[in-house]
């Protein structure tokens, strides 16, 4: 039962209905069975659930536990600072949860945009009576009446139509209205058939009556909605990595806490002492500042991207861009400028450039001009041409030689067969001097087969094999020059019959070919450079275009995308199985031509099954599923529909391919920067842990309190870390291959550098300062020191200051893992200088103001202690320079 192939009677029979429609009882029964005619969004987790998730993960639960224990400790043993500590830890949980939610959250509105395309009320016939019902109550078998301006509620097989045209843009992506009829079409597919109107489309002209055969999520529109709403992009690589890092470090921290707590019990320390110690170990190890820093870094990168005309809709997309291995891109408007203009014509068997034509003396050229002007829906308004790009170019061309308005008045349009993307031509019937004439314009490969004659020097001659061969050669020549080629043909009509329907008009055939027109859509000037960058960056570019294969090939060659690609057409693609598609995609040079937006998702799915990280561009409603399926969906800001924009991760404000490449570079820089500030943040964990270990093992006063650790992790470290997140891309970033999905943020070299090299230097500085200050103030090894003793406060302040001083040097050091600090300009990252300034101001406030002293249990320290600690910063700088020199030499040796 191919509904489009059936006669009206068979349609009624197949759907158990009749011209008077279903009766109410049957309609109600069917409504129960088929459900409401509405698109349903896939069940999503609620906003509240999402928020709650970020406050109840392993990391958060651990901190909640620590916070509650500390608050309880504060209530049981007041005056030890437990209460403040508990509140501070709670603050950490809230800050981290808030940032994680902000990073992940994006209001999903694509589905709402899709819903707007469906009507609210529908006119139907039930029980022989015409009535209006809400669209959601429509069921298969209902007879629906459609008129101009109606949006279509369900998939409908037309039974009667009068001059009906529908806008199918939401389903096919085709912007021109398509004509509809009610005759059976046995060879067509449902979505292409002329006797079918689909949900989500609209009637732009005429009226009709049809029977509903699919409702709700079973309609073609419902399928797009389902694919758009059900595809869950899941976590980005960075989200997964951040979770992994925090989870790993949290587990390590808890284990260390338990080990040292148990050790404390064995050496006979009291519960509270052990508790402070264990808590200190946990707090010192957990990178409390990592998630806020990552989020803020991504937010700043997205701001930089928006300045480069790439609007980021989901923060984590920034970094995912850096991992992209394949970009599937549209051609028109993205690689090219979408500014069509005629450059040459083929008439009288000669291919001529425009500057060489003489329209007045050449009848064939004049016929081509007239055909271009009349078989054309573009029009003039206030001196400007309004219409679709190709038609505008044709009208511009005609305007150079004739008065188009005058011609259109003299030869008015009587009827038309609108352009159909599957038929690939349009035709118009015009009244003219002897009677009437039909002009046809469309794809040359189709029109050539509809012509039996050719217009040659003012005469119609047979379109024989010799002339066909010549025309084919000209066509190859034109498409080989990256031109979009259109053919124009005509046929005279019987003058007596044209006012009633003439047979020539009813069946368009036996045409006379006038010639071809070559239209140029010049590439965007930035594109060749961007393609070169992609090649060097190991990113494969796949052109996915609705244009013909030869034009795709020529444009691709012109912009340096490929030399000799395999071009797969949409028809071929739809005939291939998944394995064949994957094999085809493994080829170095491949492009897809004459594809529909729906084919894009097939390509994206296959690429993802090949393990690629895919970015895809799109602008239409039915590009939405592909945009959602891809790792990075990129919508066109200028030409894109609202649905596409809502489904995308990134919106290109200038529709330009080069912008994607700039955004990828920024995305790669983000991951590098995250590594930089992770090194920076982890380095300070060592001087935070060592005091606790020394406290237990050596029996000395605790050199650093838990609140002071938090002052570093969530206070002084934050802005410099953020500043490292804004480092500009290092030279040659786009010359490296894309980051592997297996590459870890916490790699062994990174951990070794932070924990075994930078961290120990900082620990030496802070502990040396602590002991030096105590010894010059009369403390001897083994002396007890009360936590309320001002000397103890000053000593811990020195320890804290030691960490900050060396962390200042560490900011400079972490700007690169290889390059010398002295080879990098200070001024390219002014935010870093501001961050360091704020870091210094914070420590000065902590050390030298009463609120700072009260909050962090500190006390002012003399200038001499600063002078004692600063050389350690230079030591760190110097040793790191030696390490970097060693690494650079190793690399040079390896390369040579």
């Amino acid at each position: 039962m191919a509904i489009q192939a059936l006669t009206s009677e068979e349609v009624y029979n197949a759907l158990h209905t009749s011209p008077s429609g279903l009766d109410e009882e049957e309609a109600s029964e069917r409504l129960k069975t088929f459900g409401l005619n509405e698109i349903r969004e896939a069940q999503k987790t609620s906003l509240l659930h999402n928020i709650a998730r970020h406050f109840t993960n392993l990391f958060a639960l651990l901190l909640w536990g620590a916070s509650i224990t500390a608050i309880a400790g504060g209530l049981l043993k007041p005056g030890e600072g437990f209460f403040i500590l508990g509140i501070a830890i709670m603050g950490v949980v809230l800050i981290n949860g808030g940032f994680a939610f902000y990073q992940e959250y994006r209001a999903e509105k694509a589905f709402d945009e899709l819903k707007k395309l469906l009507p609210y009320m529908v006119t139907i016939i039930r029980g022989g009576r015409e009535r209006e019902i809400t669209a959601s109550e429509v069921v298969p078998g209902d007879i629906v009446l459609l008129k101009e301006g109606d949006r279509v509620s369900s998939d409908i097989r037309l039974l009667d139509v009068t001059e009906m045209k529908v806008d199918n843009a939401s389903i096919t992506g085709e912007s021109k209205p398509a004509k509809r009829d009610a005759t059976p079409h046995p060879d067509a597919e449902i979505s292409d058939s002329l006797n079918i109107v689909l949900a989500g489309t609209s009637v732009v002209r005429g009226q009709g009556r049809g029977v509903v055969f699919a409702t709700g999520m079973s309609t073609e529109f419902g399928k797009i909605a389902r694919l758009t709403s059900e595809i869950v992009s899941g976590m980005s690589p960075l989200e997964m990595e951040t979770i992994r890092v925090t989870r790993t470090i949290t587990v390590i921290a808890v284990c260390l806490g338990i080990i040292f707590f148990t050790a404390g019990v064995f050496i006979g320390r009291g519960f509270w002492e052990n508790f402070i110690f264990a808590l200190g170990i946990v707090v010192a190890n957990v990178p409390e500042g990592l998630l806020p820093t990552v989020t803020l870094s991504l937010a700043m990168a997205s701001q930089r991207m928006s300045k480069k005309k790439a609007l980021v809709r989901k923060l984590t997309a920034v970094e995912t861009l850096g991992s992209v291995t394949v970009i599937c891109t549209d051609k028109t408007g993205t690689l090219t400028q979408n500014r069509m203009s005629a450059v040459n014509i083929y008439t009288n068997s000669i291919l001529k450039e425009l500057q060489h034509i003489d329209a007045n003396s050449d009848l064939s050229t004049m016929m081509l001009i007239k055909g271009s002007a009349l078989c054309n829906d573009a029009y003039l308004r206030d001196g400007a041409i309004v219409g679709e790009q190709t038609e505008k170019a044709l009208l511009e061309f005609a305007q150079n030689y004739i008065d188009v308005d005058n011609l259109r008045t003299k030869e008015p349009r009587i009827a038309e067969h609108p352009f159909d993307p599957f038929r690939k031509w349009m035709a118009t019937l015009h009244e003219n001097e002897p009677g009437a004439i039909i002009y046809v314009k469309g794809a040359p490969e189709v029109l050539i087969n509809m012509c039996t004659g050719i217009f040659h020097n003012g005469e119609v001659v047979a379109f024989d094999d010799v002339r066909k061969k010549k025309a084919d050669e000209a066509l190859s020549d034109m498409t080989g020059r990256a031109l979009r080629v259109l053919a124009v043909a005509y046929r005279d009509c019987n003058p007596l019959l044209f006012k009633i329907k003439c047979p020539e008009w009813e069946k368009i055939e036996d045409l006379v070919l006038v010639g071809f027109l070559g239209l140029e859509d010049p590439p965007r000037p930035e594109v060749p450079g961007a393609i070169k960058d992609c090649n060097e960056a190991g990113i494969k570019i796949i052109m996915v275009t609705g244009d013909n294969p030869e034009t795709a090939r020529a444009v691709g060659r012109e912009i340096g995308l490929f030399n000799n690609p395999d071009i797969v057409t949409g028809t071929e693609l739809r005939g291939m199985n998944h394995k064949d598609i994957m094999n085809a995609l493994l080829k170095d040079e491949i492009a897809f031509a004459r594809v529909t937006p729906a084919d894009k998702m097939t390509i994206v799915s296959a690429l993802k099954d090949l393990g690629e990280v895919v970015a895809v561009t799109g602008d239409g409603v039915n590009d939405a599923p592909a945009l959602k399926k891809a790792d990075i969906g990129i919508a066109m800001g200028l030409s894109g529909t609202d649905v596409a924009k809502e489904a995308a991760d990134i919106i290109l404000l200038d529709d330009n391919f080069a912008t994607i490449v700039r955004a990828i570079e920024e995305g790669r820089a983000v991951f590098e920067n995250i590594k930089k500030f992770t090194t920076y943040i982890l380095s300070s964990n060592i001087p935070e842990i060592i005091p606790y270990i020394a406290y237990v093992i050596l029996g000395i006063p605790l050199p650093l309190t838990v609140v002071q650790i938090l002052a570093v992790d969530l206070g002084t470290d934050m802005l410099p870390a953020l500043a490292l997140g804004t480092e500009p891309p290092e030279p040659g970033l786009l010359k490296r291959p894309p980051r592997s999905v297996k590459e870890r943020l916490l790699s062994l070299p990174l951990l070794a550098r932070a924990y075994l090299f930078l961290g120990p230097i900082e620990a030496i500085a802070s502990m040396a300062g602590f002991f030096w200050f105590l010894s010059i103030n009369g403390w001897h090894w083994g002396d007890a020191l009360s936590s309320k003793n001002p000397l103890y406060w000053q000593a811990t302040t020195v320890c804290l200051t030691g960490i900050i001083v060396t962390q200042v040097a560490n900011v400079f050091v972490c700007r690169s893992g290889i390059l010398s600090v002295f080879s990098m300009s200070l001024w390219v990252n002014r935010f870093m200088l501001a961050g360091i300034s704020v870091e210094i101001v914070i420590i000065l406030l902590i050390v030298y103001t009463s609120p700072g002293n009260i909050m962090f249990a500190t006390s002012p320290i003399p200038l001499s202690m600063w002078l004692f600690l600063i050389p350690f910063a230079f030591l760190l700088l110097g040793l790191e320079e030696v390490r970097k020199l060693f690494v650079r030499n190793m690399m040079t040796r390896r390369i040579s």
């Binding site: 069917r30 729906a598 099954d609």
Partner: protein
């Protein structure tokens, strides 16, 4: 009569649109297996006169249609409880295959679990085909058929037997679909080599079924994908590639599995954009 195990086929109807479409599917099998077809309706106590008439008329209409196609058909009207009456008839007449439609009796209720068809599936001693009609525009024109293979092969031979007449009649493109379930983060971490290995293991799982299809002259294509949820992948595949029919085998999942991981069959029936044929062999 035929050598095929399905010598006697019963199609249960109640006058509804869905049952009539199910009956039309039954002609296919009756013709292919040269089986005798029984079209049965059950008049229940709560049926009103109109429903009774509609059910009876439905039988006459189906018999007329089937006879035009040269099918040996017999109409039967039973009385009493639907499940009991049909089960008794199946036992008494040694029916080999029962065909019925499954539909949502009430809004928001399940399609399949606790439906008449699911009760029949577990109660009757013969194989059962349950049909869910979702897209009347694509019914009985199964050009593109999706055959998901969940887990290891399930009655490969019998399933191929059912697919064969459909493929022959509609010259269908059959796609055998297997989903390798992994967590979404696990999928993202997979590299090509690992994916290739998984695809290979998937191919092995469907190999015997593919062999059965090839043995019947059906050149099916295979598609192995990784996904976090089998149900999502099947629905997504059916939506994207516009299949006309999904043919799905169903076994009795144990209660613990059903509670823990839900019932994918129920979910597929609820969300399918095309008709579904559920196969349950005995």
């Amino acid at each position: 009569m035929t050598d095929h195990p399905f010598k006697k086929i019963l199609v249960a109807v109640d006058g509804s649109f869905h049952c009539n479409v199910a009956a039309r599917y039954s002609y296919l099998f009756a013709q292919a297996f040269h089986s005798k077809l029984f079209v049965v309706t059950v008049i229940t106590k709560d049926m009103n006169e109109k429903a009774e008439k509609s059910a009876t008329y439905s039988i006459t209409r189906i018999i007329d249609e089937a006879r035009v196609s040269g099918i040996d058909i017999e109409g039967v009207i039973l009385k009493g409880d639907v499940i009991e009456a049909i089960t008794r008839f199946v036992k008494e007449n040694k029916i080999d295959l029962l065909i019925s439609s499954t539909r949502r009796p009430q809004k928001e209720r399940r399609y399949f679990v606790k439906s008449v068809t699911s009760s029949l599936m577990s109660g009757v001693p013969c194989s059962v085909i349950a049909l869910r009609i979702s897209h009347p525009g694509r019914s009985l024109r199964s050009k593109k058929v999706l055959v998901p293979v969940i887990g290891d092969g399930y009655r490969d031979k019998e399933r191929a037997d059912i697919i064969s007449p459909i493929a022959d009649r509609f010259n269908s493109n059959i796609t055998v679909f297997h989903v390798i379930e992994l967590s979404s983060s696990g999928i993202k971490r997979l590299e090509k080599l690992e994916k290739d290995k998984l695809t290979e293991s998937g191919e092995k799982k469907i190999a015997s079924f593919m062999k059965e299809l090839r043995g019947r002259g059906i050149h099916a294509s295979e598609k192995i994908v990784t996904g976090s949820k089998v149900r999502d992948e099947i629905i997504s595949e059916a939506s994207h590639h516009k299949y006309d029919l999904i043919i799905l085998g169903t076994t009795k999942r144990n209660i613990i599995k059903r509670v823990v991981s839900g019932n994918p069959v129920e979910e597929i029936l609820r969300d399918t954009p095309c008709d579904v044929m559920l196969l349950h062999f005995k």
